[in-house]
């Protein structure tokens, strides 16, 4: 793929990442954030956090399935956008929803599993965002860096659980997100099993974490 096409893809991801914020800003301006703006904004930010996180985790499976290399160039950008939406989602909860009522929020984090796992997902994503620079990859070493960044999958599992537990059981959307994540994990599991068998057939020991 040409560098021009790569640049085009990145611009596209930037546009996708910024579009929901632009839409929220526009609806704020036109007073169209529904009759319950705080709930609507919280939900929209949460939806996009999960969508972008799953999109970032879909890049490696795309390479595994179709042998494409370009998706990997978008992984970091998608992941950082996902983190930004998680932070905004959490910020709206603190500032607009509870207005710094730390006691109530602390109680909710301790008492309500869906909030506990949501906060845990944010906690897991924070070091990933902090180590997202090329300099950090070099400093940590590629193997350790990759191992750390597998936490993104754990965060996605927690994010899906967060959505399933908070929503009414009759709603389908949370199950759809969980199914997508399950598929992405299954592709990686299939690839890991395939590599393991190939190595065993070749009589070589398994090297953990040698590939992303």
């Amino acid at each position: 793929m040409s560098s021009g096409a790569r640049l085009g893809l990145k611009v596209f991801v930037w546009l996708v990442g910024l579009a929901p914020l632009a839409a929220l800003a526009y609806w704020f301006w036109t007073d169209d954030l529904t009759a319950n703006p705080i709930e609507f904004v919280t939900r929209t930010l949460g939806d996009w956090a999960l969508r972008l996180l799953l999109a970032s985790l879909a890049m490696t499976p795309l390479r595994l399935l179709f042998g494409l290399s370009w998706p990997l160039t978008l992984r970091r950008l998608l992941g950082l956008f996902a983190f930004a939406y998680v932070v905004l989602h959490f910020g709206v909860w603190i500032v607009l929803d509870h207005f710094f009522d730390w006691r109530t929020m602390g109680g909710d984090i301790a008492k309500r599993p869906w909030i506990t796992v949501g906060v845990a997902a944010l906690a897991l994503l924070t070091p990933l965002a902090a180590t997202s620079t090329t300099g950090m990859i070099k400093r940590m070493g590629a193997v350790a860096w990759r191992r750390l960044h597998r936490l993104a999958y754990v965060a996605a599992v927690l994010g899906c659980l967060h959505y399933i537990w908070l929503a009414k059981k009759v709603l389908m959307a949370p199950k759809v997100y969980a199914a997508v994540l399950g598929l992405l994990l299954a592709i990686r599991a299939w690839d890991a099993a395939r590599r393991y068998l190939r190595r065993r057939a070749a009589g070589r020991p398994l090297v953990v974490g040698s590939r992303g």
């Binding site: 529904t34 009759a35 709930e39 909710d108 009414k168």
Partner: protein
């Protein structure tokens, strides 16, 4: 002091710029998210005005919610599971002609035409607080009369202990009943129920209008009940049958999630929903949460119905 409709809303507000933009916004979001049918937005039909005498005995002190909020943000899963689905898809419901069968354990089971029902007792306007189980609330001027007046017409027998309400089941009129690719949401038809003494309580309102007009389709046209001291889902909409029975009727949300939605579902800040606190609520139109009141502020009128009962167990 009495609020006039002009202070609450005007009929022109119903077709205001804001609402048209909201429709466009919903469509834009649907496009942005690749979900939903974006083209379904239709202008709401003009609503017929409905005369009613204000009843000052049933009027909360708080200012009523704006009509366009009450008619564009609500749950009515018969249309869809999103808050804007009812308003967006409301045109498919045909509220006339309409009949309500009132039967079961009574001396005179009767099928009433909707035009007959509105004449059984004088129509009153009552301004009630509405508390959704999802911890948001509104204040709405409803039009109707006490359900007791209708129930007395059919003369409940001594065996009658409960009342069951059934909402229309017709996937042609209620697109949410069709069941999507991944299956349906609730068990249709939607049924709700009350103990007979709750149903006969003067606060329980058989409702045919709001904000000075007939009920908009998305709010349960042409006839619903409003039980202001219970979470909103107890107040069945678009009712086609009211049945007197001797056993506790199965109710839609209780069947879907028995641990979360009890038969009584009285508003109670001391009993949390398993997944969130019921201690506070967000009044639509306000920024900060406010405290939720026991029985939604109607404790002095209805608490005696539950004396001696464990309200944690009978949630």
């Amino acid at each position: 002091m009495r609020l006039r409709y002009s202070e609450i809303t005007t009929e022109t507000l119903y077709l205001s710029r804001r609402e048209l933009l909201a429709g466009a916004g919903a469509a834009a979001l649907a496009v942005a998210t690749g979900a939903g049918d974006a083209g379904a937005a239709t202008a709401p039909p003009a609503l017929a005005p409905l005369k009613a005498t204000p009843n000052p005995a049933y009027r909360v002190a708080d200012a009523p919610t704006k009509m366009d909020a009450a008619t564009t943000y609500n749950n009515f899963y018969e249309f869809g599971t999103n808050k804007d689905d009812p308003a967006r898809l409301a045109a498919s419901l045909k509220p006339r002609p309409w009949h309500v069968k009132v039967d079961g354990l009574c001396a005179k089971p009767t099928t009433f035409d909707i035009e007959e029902i509105v004449k059984i007792a004088p129509l009153e306007e009552r301004i009630y607080a509405l508390r959704c189980v999802e911890a948001w609330s509104m204040v709405i001027p409803w039009i109707g009369y006490s359900l007791a007046a209708l129930l007395k017409k059919v003369e409940p027998t001594g065996q009658a202990k409960y009342v069951e309400f059934t909402t229309l089941k017709d996937p042609e009129q209620f697109p949410g009943q069709k069941g999507g690719f991944f299956g349906g949401s609730l068990d249709w038809p939607y049924t709700e129920g009350l103990r007979l003494d709750e149903a006969m309580h003067p606060l329980t309102l058989l409702t045919v209008g709001m904000y000075g007009t007939v009920l908009p389709n998305q709010n349960g046209a042409p006839i619903r009940v409003v039980i202001p001291w219970k979470y909103g889902f107890k107040s069945a909409k678009s009712i086609v049958r009211i049945r007197l029975t001797d056993t506790e009727p199965p109710t839609a949300w209780n069947k879907a999630a028995p641990g979360e939605y009890g038969f009584y579902s009285n508003v109670n800040p001391a009993v949390d929903h398993p997944r969130w606190s019921q201690g506070t609520e967000r009044r639509i139109g306000e920024f900060r949460r406010r405290q939720t009141l026991p029985f939604n502020g109607y404790a002095d009128q209805v608490a005696s119905l539950y004396s001696g009962m464990d309200l944690k167990k009978n949630f």
